[in-house]
Amino acid sequence: MNFRAIKVIYANEMMRFWQTFFQSLASPVISTALYFIVFGAAIGSSIDKIEGVSYGLFIVPGLTMLSILTHSISNASFGIFFPKFTGTIYEILSAPISFYEALLGYVGAAASKSLILATVILFTASFFVELQIAHPVWMVSFLVLTCITFSLFGFIIGLWAGNFEKLQVVPLLIITPLVFLGGSFYSISMLPEFWQKVTLFNPVLYLVSGFRWSFFEVSDVSVGTSLMMILVFLSVCLAVVAWMFKTGYRLKQ
């Protein structure tokens, strides 16, 4: 293992984040605050408690998920797309490192950024609502697994994308709708039965449900199912990455 290489790739990816720390975090913090003001205070006051949880509190896990899914994907995909686009990838390809070591550096950095972001969002939320976490270990596990899985997914997209448009299509046109329709801001029991069934096909539902359970012990699907689904998605991403490695997909000609 070339640990030094993993370390420098990781550090290099993180450097830009620290350099622009406040810009990077300002937008998620502001949007979180806005969600709380609009949904929590303004609209939320006229919405009933959901399964015993006030609406402002209920949306915290979903809001956090929305941010970390989109940021994991965009950070990781950009992280690998950019060197491919500018050509600086030559250095990674000609260095004595394996595909997996490079992956560890890039995905590790993207996942770390998402974890920092999640912490900042939860911290911001704590100013607006009385945050309670019933199962902190589960909460952190769900968070870490989600950050890693979606950073890996982002890495795949970054390798696949041939241009900037494609890079943005997935987060914008697929992830955001899935998050909004996946019960991030409501319980699916509030939907008509038909739409409840449809929602079960939305993978984000399982992420949000499990994550929310770790806070309030309320969930749309069982926590075991949530955990299994996220592990399935992680395995799929790993399998795709392994295939990309074997074929040198879009990295080497």
């Binding site: 290099n12 600086t88 390809l93 004595p96 490192i97 040198g248 000609q253």
Partner: protein, 308 residues
């Protein structure tokens, strides 16, 4: 001595179906400067990229220091530094952080003293803390060289190092190349400037259309393939070459004031003294004499034409 790089029947067909390398075989000797000379699109960059791990070979093998570049890629790549053809470089890092990054990527321990000296040798030290995007093209090229040398490689590839480079950098670059060679580093550079190969290389490989046409010691190449010309400036203008000199195939200049004797140095039999003697016998008086040797350029043009 075993070659440091051994390329055996290397082929590369791109996904487009284009055959960029057609069964190239080449041994590179340790410590030499090899120039790969060829027109644009000849396959020079593809060849280098295959050795360095940027392009996957379609078939054939390459060993570096006896190790296979695919099976033992860690050992082979540690030995190699690459300066790419394009100015592919980051934007927001500083010069200092990017050379440290490169060194770390190759698994080397941090060594500030070495990197400082390297930046000084490349006249980059005062730019140490500048962001890369603020540098001029020439400075970026220097940074790329510094990055390639950051892990103290035994082999250095320079892909068209002087394309679009100013005189000063070019001079510095050759000084660095000579210094590196003196310390035992093997250097492979590509160029389509013949003078460059002529100026610096020990051996020259000529590549065209994905084929390696020949590899020769530079001096030997010029001597063996080069034709020499003996040019005599005459005292008086003549209209035709005297009968007596027919056997030498002399050429008369258009204005009739000089004759040229062209001979092939490989034929050995060329005897300039005989020619000069015969010319005097024939009653021609000359006031000046010069010998010119064909340059690599002439050789190159001949070869490329011959292959086309």
């Amino acid at each position: 001595m075993n070659p440091i790089i051994s390329i055996d029947n290397l082929c590369k067909t791109y996904d487009t179906g284009f055959e960029a390398l057609k069964s190239v075989s080449l041994d590179i000797k340790e410590g030499e400067i090899l120039a790969l000379l060829g027109p644009n699109g000849a396959g020079k960059t593809t060849l280098i990229s295959a050795i360095c791990g940027i392009v996957s070979p379609s078939s054939g093998t390459v060993t570096v220091s006896g190790k296979d570049i695919i099976k033992d890629f860690r050992q082979t790549r540690e030995l190699i530094g690459l300066v790419p053809q394009e100015l592919t470089i980051g934007a927001f890092e500083t010069v200092w952080s990017t050379v440290n990054f490169s060194r770390g990527l190759f698994g080397c321990k941090r060594d500030e003293a070495y990197l400082e000296q390297l930046l000084k040798d490349l006249s980059l030290f005062d730019k140490k803390n500048d962001e890369l995007r603020a540098l001029s093209g020439g400075m970026k090229r220097r940074v790329l060289i510094a990055k390639a040398l950051s892990h103290e490689p035994k082999i250095l590839f320079l892909d068209e190092p002087t394309a679009g480079v100013d005189v000063e950098l070019r001079k510095d670059m050759w000084a660095i190349v000579r210094k590196l060679r003196a310390s035992g580093v093997t250097i492979i550079l590509t160029t389509h400037y013949i003078e460059e190969a002529e100026e610096i290389a020990d051996r020259v490989g000529i590549i065209n259309n994905g084929e390696l046409l020949l590899v020769e010691e530079k001096d030997h190449l010029m001597a063996s393939l080069g034709m020499k010309q003996l040019i005599l400036e005459l005292n008086e203008v003549i209209t035709s070459i005297p009968e007596l000199l027919a056997e030498f195939n002399l050429e008369l200049s258009e204005n009739g004031s000089s004759v040229t004797y062209t001979y092939d140095t490989t034929e050995g039999g060329a005897n300039i003294a005989d020619v000069i003697h015969a010319i005097s016998e024939a009653g021609l008086v000359f006031n000046d004499l010069k010998i010119s040797q064909s340059s690599l350029e002439d050789i190159f043009v001949d070869l490329v034409k011959g292959a086309a």
